[in-house]
Structures are given as C-alpha cells and as structure tokens.
C-alpha cells in the first residue's frame, strides 16, 4: 500500500469518526445514567432519545421516533402498556407500546416516516388521546415535551392531567 493511499485512508477514517461538538454537548447535557438503571429500553425516561439514538456511526441503534408517556403530567412515573399510534404525511402508520418505564421507540430500520406526523396514545383503559398539533420533524417527543408547562412546552406527554382529566 502506498504512502499516499495510507494517508488518504487515515484522513477518511478521521473524518468519519470526527466529533460533532454540538451533538457532544447535547449528549453531555443529558447527564449520566440514573443509579440502578442499566442502559437499555428502560433508561432515561423523558429524555430526547434521538440525541444519542440518531443512527450515526458509533452511536446506539437509531430510532425514527421515540419517547416516554407518563401517568401524569408531573412526569413522576411512566405509563406502561400505552399504545402509541403514529401516522406520517403519506398515510403510513406505525404503532409501538410503552414499557414499564413509559418508554417506546420505533427503530429507524423499521420505519422512515415522511413528516409531518400525527400521533395518538391509547392507555390500556380509557379513551385515546390525539395530539392536537403536528410533529414537524423531530422524532424525539422530549424535543418539545419537556417540563415544566410553559410558553414553549406543553409539558411531558401524559395520559392524565393534574386535575385528573385527560389532555385535550
């Protein structure tokens, strides 16, 4: 192998694994794992999943859509067994079910939705709740649904409001 070819390959390799400081900062901002919770489907409920699960080289398996559904809008405990039904702009549908942490995810290898998306959630008991606005491009629920409720957030995704009612 010639020196020139070797240099080219090394340059290519360095380029491929080069760090994105913005993405690195976003990952760092999420903090460490919660004590006693291993990396896996139950970890980091309420966090923007696609910050790490973006499918890039060296990252965990990529998700196209993922998030957490909580029992109540205070985000204290995840809602298990909630069916999340997604529909993309082309009418393609995909569903996922939340686990005991309230987390759900759709692998990007399984579904490449065309935005915007609509979404509804169906708890094991009780009526389905439809999100009343579109999802523009972000596959992470927590890009927008962050606590607390305020001018730029509707709060965590929940199946019950603080007053016991359901979201609109």
């Amino acid at each position: 192998m010639s020196i020139r070819l070797r240099v080219s390959l090394v340059t290519l390799l360095v380029t491929l694994v080069a760090c994105d400081p913005v993405q690195s900062d976003a990952v760092a901002a999420l903090g460490g794992e919660a004590p006693g919770v291993r990396r896996g489907p139950l970890h980091r409920p309420g966090q923007p999943c696609l910050v790490c699960h973006d499918g890039s080289l060296g990252s965990p398996e990529g998700f196209s859509v993922a998030g957490t559904v909580f029992e109540r809008i205070d985000g204290a405990s995840g809602a298990n067994g909630v069916t999340v039904l997604l529909e993309d702009a082309a009418g393609a549908k995909k569903s996922a079910t939340t686990n005991t942490a309230g987390n759900f995810y759709v692998l990007s290898s399984q579904w490449h939705p065309r935005y915007p998306l609509t979404v509804s959630i169906s708890p094991p008991s009780g009526p389905a709740i439809t999100m009343q606005s579109l999802i523009g491009w972000s596959g992470s629920c927590a890009t927008c649904h962050t606590p607390p409720v305020g001018p730029d957030s509707a709060g965590p995704v929940a199946i019950e409001l603080e007053d016991g009612g359901t979201p609109p």
Partner: protein
C-alpha cells in the same frame, strides 16, 4: 520594484479593499408592506404548519412563529392555553414574516414574483429546508401565502389550507379559532 514586492503590494491592496465598514446610516426602510389587517388567516396557517415547537415555534429560528399550537408569546400562556392565537402573537408573526428579507418583501409587494422570497421557496421545496417540502406551488397553502403577498388575500383558501393540517379536526379545539372568510 522586485516581483515579490509587487506581489506583496498587490496582495495588501486586495486585502485592504476587502475590508469595509457599514455606512453610518445604512438602515433600509421598507417601501411596501403586505396588508397587516388581512394577515390573521395567513398567520393561522403558518402557526399550524410551520410553527410547531420543533420547527419555527422557537426563538432559535430567524422566522419565528408564535401561536396556540406552538410557542406562545406571553410568559403566562402555554400551548392551547388560551386556545386561539392572540392578537399580540399575530403582530409578532407579521413582523417576523415581513422583516426576514425586507428589500425582497418590498419588491414582491410591488409586483415581483413571490418566489423571490426565501420563505416561499423553502416551503415549496425549491430551496434546501430542514423541514423539507411543506407544500406545492399552487395548492391551497401556497395560494394563501402568495395571494396575501400579491395584495389579494384569500381568507377562504387559507381556512381550507389550515383545516388540512389540523389533527382530529372534529374534536380539535383550534377549529373554533379559524378566521371566517
């Protein structure tokens, strides 16, 4: 003068000419603006389709869109509370739209092609856009925006366009907010 000296002098001159400072009074005053009174149906469409919190419903975008289904202007408000866009949000959205490219906006209002505006081209997908193609030339959404820019706003077509982007239209509280044609 040696060749090297000449080359250096030329490089210096080019660098010096490349430096500039803005004139002391270089503000541009828009000569023509689209109609503010006819903006609410347009703003409603933009808020629904463009102003979600993950897109233009954020202060990180040059085109900032406020509205009920996205970012709220008042610190005490939150998405869907109050249900409809406020008049202050309409004001801010209007200023955001007309202030993006003021010179071009004036040219369009004076009869230029709306496609001169970056926001029109991005929505049509003819220019790179993070959100991809939003609508196509001539459909209800495109007609809503361009008819307003051209001075003959069409509230009915705006309402049609906005309704097409409303999830669960029969139960969506935003239905009550639609501006009547």
């Amino acid at each position: 003068m040696s060749f090297a000296t000449r080359l250096f002098a030329l490089a210096f001159a080019v660098c010096a000419a490349g430096c500039s400072t803005p004139p002391s009074d270089s503000r541009y005053v828009q000569t023509a603006l689209p109609n503010r009174a006819e903006f609410p149906p347009v703003g409603q469409l933009l808020a629904l389709r463009c102003g979600t919190l993950d897109c233009h419903g954020t202060t990180f975008r040059n085109l900032r869109i406020y509205g009920s289904a996205g970012m709220r202007l008042a610190a005490t408000d939150s998405p869907f509370v109050p249900t409809c866009d406020t008049s202050n949000e309409d004001d801010q959205d209007y200023l955001s739209v007309v202030g993006l490219e003021p010179e071009t906006m004036s040219a369009v209002v004076n009869g230029g092609d709306p496609g001169m505006l970056t926001m029109v081209r991005k929505a049509r997908g003819s220019e790179a856009h993070k959100g991809g193609q939003i609508w196509i030339v001539g459909d209800a959404s495109d007609a809503c925006l361009t008819s307003w820019l051209e001075g003959h706003a069409d509230a009915a077509v705006c309402a049609t366009a906005a309704a097409s982007f409303l999830p669960a239209p029969t139960s969506n509280p935003l239905t009550q907010c639609f501006v009547s044609p």
